[in-house]
Symmetry: C2
């Protein structure tokens, strides 16, 4: 891991997300870094982020996989464009779809979980990202996120 | 909607979930009710539960869809068994997989979103549930959750 996490370089318009935005007052503050062709993040689950006692909540896992994967889509698009993340104009992605397989219970303990994501394919504005979550070196969840590049962040009608 | 929400009848072992457990100190407290063959829930998004300004966070949406759908799987299994939810021995489900399509931005405003889920199929211990999320009557996300019935709640190895 090297450099700033992707999310610390996002433009302000992208910095409010509950999962990964540095400006969210009550967020998870997911931080993703390049490691070769992969994006890696570590996250310490909080005691209340459970599904049942001792086991990490599936919705929080989905959130980590979503934000980390979209972070990679954004970082990859900037890398391909030869630009640093956070330079104008905005290059960003929204989540088109999210799929998560819960392979094993993920323990909530005193050590962080690890996320590892890689680009599976890019087709125009669509980037498909695969992401696995590991606890103590064991893969406990595996996801796929379709990120869609947008010119500006979409607002409700 | 009638009677108690499913989650208020869960046995104590099932009442800790961040998404829907009545005993979680910092949870979302999703409450699901029968309405004919559907399960219905309403949830007021909080100001910090955003992806970007004004738009609901995708991970929170995934959490709502997950917990509401598993709630329906649990309620349906009890109905089929002719038992009230929360009677012993435990009948419960865990999430095997979760899939969400984000159709439109979901506004975070002063009115709650609505979740509507129904059983798509039951195959032995596996229940497939479809769930849509509506904001102002407009469907903004659609999910599918595979619930797996377990004898007791699985713990990490």
């Amino acid at each position: 891991m090297n450099g700033l996490p992707f999310q610390d370089e996002y433009l302000e318009a992208r910095a409010d997300c509950w999962g990964c935005g540095r400006n969210n007052p009550e967020g998870l503050y997911i931080k993703s870094y390049w490691e070769g062709e992969e994006a890696v993040a570590h996250y310490q689950p909080l005691p209340h982020q459970i599904g049942h006692k001792g086991v990490m909540n599936g919705g929080v896992i989905a959130t980590l996989i979503d934000c980390h994967s979209i972070g990679l889509a954004i970082a990859h698009a900037h890398r391909e464009a030869g630009r640093a993340i956070g330079t104008s104009p905005l290059i960003t992605y929204v989540t088109g779809s999210l799929q998560v397989d819960y392979l094993k219970p993920t323990p909530v303990k005193g050590e962080p979980v690890e996320l590892r994501a890689r680009i599976k394919s890019v087709d125009g504005r669509k980037s498909l990202v695969t992401c696995s979550l590991f606890a103590g070196g064991v893969e406990t969840a595996r996801g796929e996120v379709l990120g869609v590049q947008v010119e500006e962040l979409p607002m409700p009608a």
